[in-house]
């Protein structure tokens, strides 16, 4: 996760100097998370990749105005969301995207610290992951943006156009389900 101050510095370097290196770092820092976010809407790796690339094309085109952006993270996620929705509704104008229809991808167990490191059993790790995978889509996208991408409640509220209260409630459900899922594995 990239630090807020580093992010601001990158932004200034791109906006003021048209710095290619800073542009590249920004791309590297956000690519994976934005790609997964786009995927949950469009359900195609290829399209998700194009959408993230397009967002960065636009970012470069409008770099002179980047300093007007209040929160770059929110800006990037919203841009990806808008392009994703536009793509999904291109063929079907009446089709509304609901948070309940998203296909959220959560990294497999191997992406976390190994169970041995934490002295827990592989079964336990697997149980936790099953619980995360089985979260309802709305809960899962919120969980992913906060726990995996490291966004703040307020930022996710701005991105998904929902209230912080809803996020608080959904995260409570997620934590409860995950903790409860391991109750019967642990001795």
């Amino acid at each position: 996760m990239i630090d807020q101050i580093q992010l601001q510095l990158l932004l200034e370097r791109i906006a003021v100097f048209g710095d290619h290196d800073a542009y590249k770092r920004l791309f590297w820092a956000f690519y994976k998370d934005l790609n997964r976010f786009a995927y949950s809407f469009v359900k195609s790796n290829e399209v998700a990749e194009e959408i993230v690339s397009d967002v960065f094309v636009n970012l470069w085109k409008n770099r002179m105005r980047l300093l007007e952006i209040e929160n770059l993270k929110v800006y990037l996620y919203v841009a990806v969301k808008n392009l994703s929705i536009r793509h999904s509704t291109r063929n079907n104008r009446d089709h509304l995207i609901s948070l309940d229809d998203l296909a959220v991808d959560i990294p497999s167990t191997s992406a976390y610290a190994s169970p041995e490191e934490l002295c827990i059993s592989a079964e336990l790790a697997a149980a936790i992951h099953t619980a995360i995978q089985n979260l309802p889509p709305r809960c899962k996208i919120i969980y992913k943006l906060i726990r995996e991408d490291g966004l703040r409640y307020k930022e996710v509220a701005d991105i998904l156009h929902i209230s912080v209260k809803t996020i608080d409630a959904q995260m409570t459900i997620a934590t409860k389900k995950i903790c409860q899922s391991i109750n019967f594995v642990l001795k």
Partner: protein, 390 residues
């Protein structure tokens, strides 16, 4: 699988626990909420243990050690950019440059040409009351001081961003204040008093110098990136220069100016007494010297082995870092970091040296990690954490 069995053990506070736990894990909990959670879990030791395991597992962020996916996507993307903007992206080398670490230090290396702002860091403190009652207060009395404070009810010091009238941006660390008079920027003066720790991004103005008052030390900004550490309980004021030029002088002897070169730090001893005492002369210019009442030493700044991070400015990246420091000093840092009160009951512990870094760890996790290196005991009494040897 009957979820009600679990519900019964946790009792009627179940939902509140999940709510508080979520907020804690996401860094959204207030100090009061953290205390409430600890209180609730204290009555449920068995559940607390299980919860501990799950949260410690989930807190570990997925580590994207390989960047194969990013590399591939970037190659494609830069190809597209070269087609769209051939005049700007004609040089393919930008796509091949090895990826550099994201680090604060590396940002300071780029050319000075066209810099429209100056970045620097100041950590400073003195008791606020001392400043207000002090006759030699750096700011003239009469005008209304304006004070900006960081929120300090969060588990980690939050970097609250404030903007001064001249456009200078300030990130305040936890428990920190900055104040200035309402004539700031007028009369060819930009002066601020800082208590605690802050990161400044100063709007450049060659005609109006920017001065930071830090206890008995003044720092005049000349286009620079630097760090000053001067908490009230510290015996030294430490100024670390990353880039550019900085001039450090003592109020006791304003004519004696230390000009630091990049990657140098100067440590000047201060005590409550000599802040008001005029300096007596008698100067030696060696790496460690006495200058009147001030003892000072100049050292080189060294990044941590294997990384670009300079410990003096690690706090900007939300890192609490210490390199072969005695526990007494680490505890000072942890108190500021976690906003907790920690006491060392056994003198043998005070001089034990530790090296390490904390990022997302809770206070308990951090202490447990120290404990793993040297087996001391931890006891919590009335929100005071006590460290001792059995």
């Amino acid at each position: 699988m009957d979820p009600y069995i679990y519900k019964e053990t946790i009792g009627m506070h179940a939902n509140r626990i999940w709510e508080l736990l979520s907020r804690k894990m996401d860094g959204e909990a207030s100090m009061d909420e953290l205390r409430e959670l600890e209180q609730l879990l204290m009555n449920l030791p068995e559940d607390a243990y299980k919860i501990d395991i799950v949260t410690s597992y989930l807190q570990k962020k997925p580590d994207s050690g390989t960047f194969g996916e990013e590399a591939l996507a970037w190659e494609k993307h830069i190809g597209l950019m070269q087609n769209l903007h051939p005049e700007e992206f004609d040089d393919a080398s930008s796509a091949i440059l090895p990826r550099r670490r994201h680090s604060l230090a590396s940002h300071f290396r780029w050319p000075k040409v066209g810099f429209y702002s100056i970045l620097f860091v100041v950590i400073f403190s003195a008791s606020w009351l001392l400043y207000q009652n002090h006759a030699s207060s750096p700011l003239s009395p009469g005008a209304n001081p304006i004070q900006l404070s960081a929120q300090n009810n969060l588990p980690h010091p939050s970097k609250t961003k404030k903007i001064l009238p001249d456009g200078t941006q300030v990130w305040l660390n936890g428990n920190s204040h900055i104040s200035y008079q309402d004539d700031f920027g007028k009369n060819n003066k930009r002066e601020v008093v800082l208590i605690g720790e802050a990161f400044f991004d100063v709007t450049h103005n060659a005609h109006v110098p920017f001065i930071v008052h830090a206890r008995s030390i003044n720092i005049t900004v000349k286009g620079t990136a630097f760090n000053v550490k001067a908490y009230p309980e510290d015996k030294n004021v430490e100024t670390s220069l990353l880039r550019g030029v900085v001039e450090v002088s003592s109020k006791a002897d304003p004519k004696r100016k230390f000009v630091l070169k990049p990657s140098e730090k100067i440590n000047i001893s201060v005590s409550a007494d000599n802040e008001t005492l005029p300096s007596t002369s008698g100067k030696k210019t060696v790496s460690e010297s006495t200058d009147g009442n001030n003892i000072y030493s100049i050292d080189k700044l060294q990044p941590e082995p294997g990384s670009d991070i300079i410990p003096e400015v690690a706090w900007l990246q939300n890192k609490l870092m210490f390199s072969s420091e005695p526990l007494s000093e680490i505890v000072e840092k942890m108190q500021r970091w976690y906003g907790a009160t920690i006491e060392i009951k056994d003198d043998r512990l005070k001089d034990l040296r530790f090296t390490g870094a904390f990022t997302n760890e809770t206070l308990r996790q951090a202490l447990n990690e120290l404990q793993a290196t040297y087996p001391f005991e931890i006891n919590t009494d009335n929100n005071v954490v006590i460290l001792y040897i059995k």
